[in-house]
Amino acid sequence: MTADHIIVTGGTGYIGARLIETALAQGRAVTVLGRRAGPPGTRHARWVLGDPLPDTLDRTSGTALIHLAHDWAAGEDGNVAGSARLFASAADAGIATRIFVSSQSARQDALNRYGQMKWATEQRLAGATCLRVGLVYGGPRAAMYGLLCQLARLPALPMIEPGRTVQPIHLDEVVRGMLAAADRRAGGVLALAGPDQVPFGDVLRALSVAFNGKRLPILPIPLRFALLACAVSARLPLIPTIDRERVLGLAGTEPIDSALDLARLGLDVEPLRLRLPREIAGRRALLSEADAFLGHAGIRPTSALLRRYARAVPEGAIVRPHWGLRWREPLGGATPLGKRLRIAARIAEASAPGEQMLGSGSRPARILRLAFDGAFELLLLPSRLIASLAR
């Protein structure tokens, strides 16, 4: 059965906004419950957590409720009781498909309050579908994903237990999963998380490479020390506050087996590494790599040439030197960097700016310049040799 009307709470959040966008694009009607109205094309009913379902709503048989709202200020009682009230009134109103967006960290003995609260809420919602969502990435850099993107920009990252695994899933995949649940492809408690266990440190490393072209050194730190840092950062001005809840949320996530649930929802989840290059930030990083490499090859690249380079390497950006490429170009073409510099050189050579660079000048001038460059290249050799060995 297709849910052609979706009632959404938490529609302004990271996931909610994309959910509404996608549902509208698929031609579904959307009603936003909240303090503020949703984007154009949606209906709005005023609602805050704690209110029952407004009775003015269209509740035809193809209606599904997706409850994403979470109020940090409302505390445990506010969230659990508020959600229960919403779902009870929705059931009374005859809305058969009621979806609660929970978390992979939802457990009775979760380390963080959020996980405990989500678990407690799940217990109160009889007959509802609970989606335990894993680590969501992609799309606008907001929520946890936004924080991770920021962390990945650091020159080095101290990190709590970087070997602990998470199960990344793309924002669009999560939204597709929610809509599949709304269409009643599957019900009950479902894991909406990537099927692969990825060490959390690797997620940050992948973000750093794909979005910044950099290697991210990670310094593992014990959880106890991290909690101390949270406490300190909360008291010191001028430095970003580290949220204790988030630290615990990450540390406390237990692996869940999601493959079967994903299959039931009819959802293919792409590995993080393959998906990141297609994000806007990944694409931008690749174009910036193209600019650096084509520039290194000796031309001022046009945007068409940058795009051609990007299409030649769909795997996305690699770790690259951001300065002194001439001193650090590897000697051979076997390394990823050496290979890509050769691709850049081929594009440069086949371009109009390249022809201009290569074809200009008189014969004596060209030979003189080459002799001069050849001598200079000898000076570069030792550092290039070291760079080749270091990789």
Partner: protein, 525 residues
């Protein structure tokens, strides 16, 4: 649903040089011929009128690298990297069901087959090689002459009397020095005998040295067999069907059935005789499945091949010439061992991308590019081919789906490597005596199959289970003839295309007289 389409006396599968060469004598004898061709759609032609225009074209990268997709590494021969070659070769391996291990399995579904991207080298085998052919030296020579007259050739002249001004400057330098030397034993050189028109002829125009040979000659100067299709179509007894993927052969009531796919539709064609000229790999798959010889290892010959670069120092740093010729310019044979004749061509590098040179230089990229550009007008590149008997490849044809499967296992023997090494050594010495220096590190041995000369899987008068008789008829399948490289009884180091065409001409001629004879008997009865 199966439809049986169109009858003919002879069905020819493939429009490559072999198929076209077999068609001519049949058509001239009045035999009804139906040519089935996998080709559909046109191949790209050069986007610019000449090399200088192409070099300065702002969109040249699209032509050279394609608008999208991965960029071929410099280990791929530039001949196979052009837009034309990429399109011509695309999809062949997949639709022919080829799985290759250490073998570059090349074939083309384009009209004209692999001749769309061949090097146009029209060499003839010598008498020693021709002795292995049924019918003997005389029959093959007569067929060589007929084919050469038909397609138009140039070059192949003694260097002492040839006009060297048309050669690329470094190659001309080499030839000029060769002219002044007294003959050396074990090394012979002539201007390359090319299937390229020097003057206009029958709708094709003479070579203008525009330099876009590898991009697809828009003047039709370089022969490829699709250029002959218009002439064939003027025969009322000729019919041509494109977009036909032949998948299997069978026999019914003494007739040959050709089962094919047109788009999604399965169709069958019927004729008393089928001539296979689909290219060695596709032909072998069809023939072996027809006689039930599946799962059996069959020898596949190819020419072990390598390349080496030379430089003429006094030409370094010159501007690239406006006029150029991108194919072989000089042809040599060289004694690589007792009774081992290697062969190859010299060509200039002025029409080629710089990457193969630049990628080997230890400089940083900007300097490597400029150094390669400075070298390129001074470069002479040489290929070296060994006779097919030094190859060690096998294929197994399997029944798998409608089109079958071909598993190819290539192997470069130690002996082939040693002989190529000797060939390079000797070549370097001869070339050094003629004023050019071998570039250190430029020697390259290519993987088996990179020669694009897969042949000899169904050798004429062969003794193995997979063989054809003296007339190219598949042993075990009367009425099925093989006209392409699969039937070659011997693969010399000299490029085989003209020989394949001559043999196809001979087979077509024999078939025509056989058909005339049987229909004569029928008439008499």
């Amino acid at each position: 649903m199966n439809r049986v389409l169109r009858d003919a006396d002879v069905i020819i599968v493939g429009s490559g040089p072999a198929g076209v060469s077999a068609a001519w004598p049949l058509l001239e004898a009045g035999v009804n011929v139906l040519m089935l061709d996998a080709a559909g759609g046109d191949l790209p032609s050069p986007p610019q009128p000449d090399l200088t225009a192409l070099r300065t074209d702002a969109l040249r990268w699209r032509t050279e690298l394609g608008a999208t997709g991965p960029i071929a590494g410099s280990d791929v021969s530039p001949k196979f990297a052009t837009l034309l070659a990429r399109r011509a070769l695309a999809g062949f391996g997949e639709s022919a069901g080829i799985v290759a291990d250490d073998f570059m399995a090349l074939g083309a579904h384009a009209a004209g087959g692999l001749s769309r991207i061949w090097g146009a080298l029209a060499t003839r085998y010598d008498d020693a090689d021709l002795a292995a052919f049924p019918g003997g030296v005389a029959a093959m020579r007569a067929s060589y002459d007929r084919v050469a007259r038909r397609i138009g050739t140039s070059g192949g002249e003694d260097i002492a009397s040839a006009d060297l001004s048309a050669l690329a400057p470094p190659v001309a330098h080499l030839a000029g020095r060769h002219r002044r030397r007294i003959a050396t034993s074990g090394f012979e050189m002539i201007t390359a005998p090319n299937a390229v028109l020097a003057e206009d002829r029958e709708g094709r125009r003479g070579c203008s040295a525009c330099g876009l040979c590898l991009q697809g000659c828009s003047r039709g100067s370089i022969y490829h067999s699709a250029l002959e299709l218009p002439a064939l179509r003027r025969f009322p007894n000729f019919a041509y069907r494109g977009n036909v993927f032949v998948q299997r052969l069978s026999t019914h009531a003494g007739e040959q059935l050709v089962e094919a796919r047109i788009g999604r539709e399965a169709v069958r064609f019927r004729a008393p005789t089928v001539v296979l000229a689909a290219g060695t790999l596709a032909t072998t798959s069809l023939a072996l499945r027809r006689i039930g010889l599946t799962g059996v290892r069959v020898r596949l010959e190819s020419n072990p091949v390598g390349g080496i670069g030379f430089v003429v120092p006094r030409l370094i740093g010159r501007s690239l010439p406006d006029r150029a010729f991108g194919l072989g310019q000089l042809f040599y044979t060289l004694e690589a061992g007792s009774d081992v004749m290697a062969a190859g061509v010299f060509y200039g590098a002025d029409t080629l991308p710089l990457a193969p040179v630049a990628d080997r230089m230890p400089f940083t990229r900007p300097v490597a590019l400029r150094a390669a550009r400075a070298l390129s007008p001074a470069l002479v590149l040489a290929t070296a081919y060994l006779p097919g008997r030094f190859s060690d490849n096998h294929l197994v044809v399997e029944e798998d789906g409608a089109a079958g499967r071909i598993r190819i296992t290539g192997h470069q023997t130690g002996e082939a490597q040693r002989l190529l090494g000797t060939t390079f050594d000797r070549l370097a010495r001869h070339v050094r005596q003629r004023g050019a220096w071998a570039i250190p590190g430029s020697r390259q041995m290519l993987m088996p199959g990179a020669d694009a000369h897969p042949t000899g899987t169904l050798p004429m008068r062969g003794t193995g289970p997979a063989a054809t008789d003296a007339e190219g008829q598949v042993v075990g399948a009367p009425g099925v003839f093989v006209a392409d490289g699969a039937a070659l009884p011997r693969l010399s180091a000299r490029h085989p295309t003209l020989t394949i065409m001559a043999n196809a001409d001979r087979i077509g001629r024999l078939l025509a007289s056989r058909i005339a004879l049987t229909s004569g008997i029928a008439d008499a009865g």
